[in-house]
Subunit: 264 residues, 2 copies
């Protein structure tokens, strides 16, 4: 359906994207064909897809009927609604729906990653992309972990933040340690990633465990000592002298790779 | 030495950083303590360090006398000169000096990475950071690889673009294939990274070779078929079905890790 008026309320779900993340409105936003298709395939109920005529047509050609309203707009209308020139020409909005529970997402999982204090939306997005790419089953968000459904996280994740199950531990410090103990009780071998040279090599830490929970902390401070104490083993990726620890999403990617490799 | 006048020509090396990369002027720019210290320790002749009084003092306390002029400026002066509020408060400029030759940088190298078409400055920066962190000896730039000394590349590399030797192959397509043949003649086992599921596992591709040249291509298109044909083996990082190939700097980091691991 063609909408010419930028003030049409049916376009409110994608309005002012330059100013607002829409998280406050309980929405999740996907941009571009690939990410929109992952939103449509996700557990989040899609409210609408808005785009240029050619982009909508192309979308349906590739992915079929999305089962939600599709609003055709001109480049100028979309720019005015979104607040910037959206050259991808396709954007969708969905409801955030009820968050998943930790117990739910770990139930059949073999490999999970636990984030402590990873507050950067791009890092969270990259982490989801890498985790999805290398068979991680779920992401658990601890204290200070940023929102995976934030618009930038979703974009950087290439939509995998919408597909890969995640759950947030309850806040509060005692709860954080108890949460980790819960994971251990569920049979997970807890491995914390650290640049500490006294830690065992990642390959040795990951070998021979049916269920692994990999813990990573924020770039810079890394995992808190409390979190590390709650894990079974501290693992390192050996670094050349005089260099810095890896970006958190990169370090995690290497751990995911090593985990997958241990099944060879 | 205190400089109050933003128009003082001694500040020209760090002028208009918001508009210009200074590459055109043959300069390389470093920002913040850590990166400035790596510039000072590099092969590039430092022309000056400009910063707030406290930042200059702190720099000298940690790293000692840099052996170049240091200009003290106020926050307002630096903002006017650079064109934006530089909250790090410390910036240095150096001459680019003569580029290194391929023969020079591979001479004693055991592990090199070869980039084809990696045109994104952030990816180049991340690649240098990861390569330096995991004992890669040199970076070789093929057709379409972005400039590692670009300001953003240097920043993202955390200054490792200034430390890790790199050289650019001459342009022209025939030359590109001949360059790769040259690497093979120098004893390097050429390994191309590809998402192709028929390729051998990365671990198998890297095992048992004294000298390895890892080839990576741009995200999206990846390596050209011509480049891959010039390598000894095609290697893959196995990916989960329905996911995308990894970011080029992340894929390279995994390969660097695997290379280092093969020496265990």
């Amino acid at each position: 359906m063609m909408i010419a008026d930028p003030h049409d309320p049916r376009l409110d779900d994608v309005r002012d994207l330059n100013k607002s993340d829409k998280s406050g409105e309980g929405l999740v936003i996907a941009e571009g064909h690939l990410v929109v298709s992952r939103l449509v395939a996700s557990r989040f109920p899609v409210r609408c897809i808005v785009g240029f005529a050619s982009k909508l047509e192309h979308y349906v050609d590739i992915y079929g009927d999305p089962g939600c309203p599709m609003y055709e707009v001109s480049r100028e209308t979309l720019a005015e609604v979104a607040g910037f020139d959206m050259h991808r020409g396709l954007v969708a909005a969905a409801d955030r729906s009820t968050p998943l529970e930790v117990a739910e997402v770990i139930q059949d999982a073999q490999t999970v990653v636990v984030l402590e204090g990873v507050g950067d939306h791009e890092n969270i997005g990259s982490l989801f992309r890498n985790a999805a790419g290398m068979d991680v089953d779920a992401v658990l968000l601890g204290a200070g972990a940023a929102d995976p459904l934030y618009r930038r996280s979703v974009r950087v994740s290439m939509g995998h933040a919408l597909r890969l199950p995640f759950a947030r531990f309850d806040g509060g410090f005692t709860t954080w340690q108890r949460s980790l103990a819960l994971l251990a009780d569920a049979g997970f071998h807890l491995v914390s990633l650290t640049p500490d040279e006294d830690a065992v090599h990642l390959a040795d830490a990951l070998e021979g465990h049916a269920k692994i929970a990999l813990m990573v902390g924020a770039e810079g401070p890394g995992l808190t000592e409390h979190a590390m104490r709650a894990t079974h083993v501290r693992a390192q990726i050996p670094m050349a002298p005089g260099t810095d620890s890896l970006n958190v999403a990169t370090a995690a990617a290497i751990a995911f790779y090593e985990r997958q490799r241990s099944f060879r």
